[in-house]
Amino acid sequence: MSTEILIGAWIATGLSLFMYSFLYKDNPFFKLGEHIYVGVSVGYGLVITYYEVMVKKLYVPMIQQGNWWLLIPTALGLLVLARFIPPIAWVSRLSFAFIVGVGSGVAIPRVISSLILQQVQGSLKPLVTSGDGGVSLITFAGFNTLLILIGVVSVLFYFFFSVEHTGVVHRVARVGIYFLMVSFGAAFGYTVMARMSLLIGRFDELVMYASAAYGYATLVLLAVVIAGLVLWERGRTVNPASLE
């Protein structure tokens, strides 16, 4: 096994354990891991952005290939930085106007078409279907369609505040609440599944790094973190002022 993989495994194991130490309580190991994460993310983002945007999308096409029209987006980009110079901060509005204008023009028609009109269309399917076997009145798909229709209408009633929720409106809105509860339950169930998946993913690697091939990285670093937390707790007990 190469040295770089081994070093990577030890760093990954150490940082995972530092972050999990927060489950005990907020502590210096967690803070160290948190700060390293933020620093590395920003540094990595800067390097990739510099190489992928400044070099590949700007320097090479403009300087080496002579695409001088790229000066226009470059100028618009530079104008955004005028925000940091108060006397000329207003100039940055030109760039923001461009971004908002183009962004809205591109996004609004597409989003309305894809995420509203097509979803409305999906909620209004026929309940009765006809095929080779004749006309079908009661099918599982038809039941689903009916369920979706009742759900959509009742939830819309619940969020319709122009009419007082009494009588029939109250009863329909009440059905809407039940649909919302089922929806929140499903979302929560999937969230639990996602968080458990992340835990399993980390544990999977920690188990792998606990092997002799990786120098028992998990076991050694777990012992180091536990010992560190014990020493930290003792220090806090001896000197309560350090809690501040």
Binding site: Q119, G122, V192, S197, I200, F203
Partner: protein
């Protein structure tokens, strides 16, 4: 009984963390091999790739970063393995800046396993700035959107991209997304305009929001979370990390269900007592 219920409700939550850790760890160390049932939405993605003719073009956009690796990385490995086994031309890319190296490693790893050549059998375009606008740009002219691939080779000279001038020349696109830009962007700005078929994978958190897209036919299939990845691994008959993690997933879910039931029971017991005191 009520005293016991009250004590249980005020239990140190770190004991529950410990319990979850133990229940997760045991199936990882001693797998049970619980059966995995393949859902129709996962099979739809598999079937579409399975039925593509050789040398068809599959675009795989790995729109996630290391934070979602446990869920989406196994999906990516399984789909790339399937595509290479079917001898498809694979275009890899990412719309997440911080996921670039991770995405690149997926293609490099599977290509090495299956003896595929970069530039001939697959390309990795890397990351492009502009979020969803990259999709529009690729739909107009792929070579203009990505003049070079991740390694700096001119895309117009790559054999794997022969006759692929824009997204209209792509037979199937799969976006494995952890958020935005991701699968939804590919539908809104790509599929509807340029007419390719679209499938996807997502983290479990995003799944409930994306299932309506299947119902309306906006996407043809969806791999949801670790379970979706495990189902795809079952279909391609490769036991990867997702399959290994499913036992632990089932065990933790079982424990959480028990905890929810027991906590509610204790809650109602103590509530009855409070009601009597009032």
């Amino acid at each position: 009984m009520n005293d016991f219920a009250r004590r249980m409700l005020s239990l140190d939550r770190r004991l529950i963390f410990l319990l979850i850790a133990v229940v997760t760890l045991i199936p990882l160390l001693y797998p049970l091999g619980l059966p995995i049932r393949v859902s129709p939405e996962v099979r739809a993605v598999y079937d579409y790739i399975e039925n593509l003719p050789e040398r068809s073009v599959l675009l795989l956009s790995l729109d996630f970063d290391p934070a979602s690796k446990p869920e989406l990385h196994p999906m990516a490995l399984a789909i790339v393995r399937h595509a290479f086994r079917k001898n498809l031309r694979v275009i890899g890319m990412t719309m997440w800046l911080t996921g670039t190296s991770l995405a690149e490693s997926v293609f490099a790893q599977v290509a090495q396993e299956q003896g595929k050549k970069r530039g001939e059998d697959y390309v990795f375009l890397g990351w492009g700035p502009g979020g969803a606008n990259v999709i529009i740009s690729m739909g107009q002219n792929l070579y203009a959107a990505f003049p070079t691939d991740y390694y700096g080779v001119k895309t117009s000279e790559l054999p794997a991209l022969k006759n692929v001038r824009s997204l209209r020349d792509v037979q199937y696109t799969v976006s494995l997304s952890a958020g935005s830009p991701g699968l939804e962007s590919w539908y809104v700005f790509g599929k509807e305009k340029y007419g390719f078929e679209l499938g996807g994978g997502c983290t479990a958190v995003s799944a409930p929001g994306l299932y309506p897209l299947i119902d309306t036919g906006q996407i043809n299939g969806l791999l949801g979370g670790l379970r979706g990845a495990a189902e795809y691994e079952t279909l391609v008959d490769i036991k990867g990390n997702a399959t290994a993690g499913m036992d632990a997933q089932s065990a933790t879910h079982f424990l959480i269900i028990i905890l929810i039931v027991v906590c509610n029971l204790f809650y109602f017991l103590t509530r009855q007592e409070r009601g009597r005191q009032v």
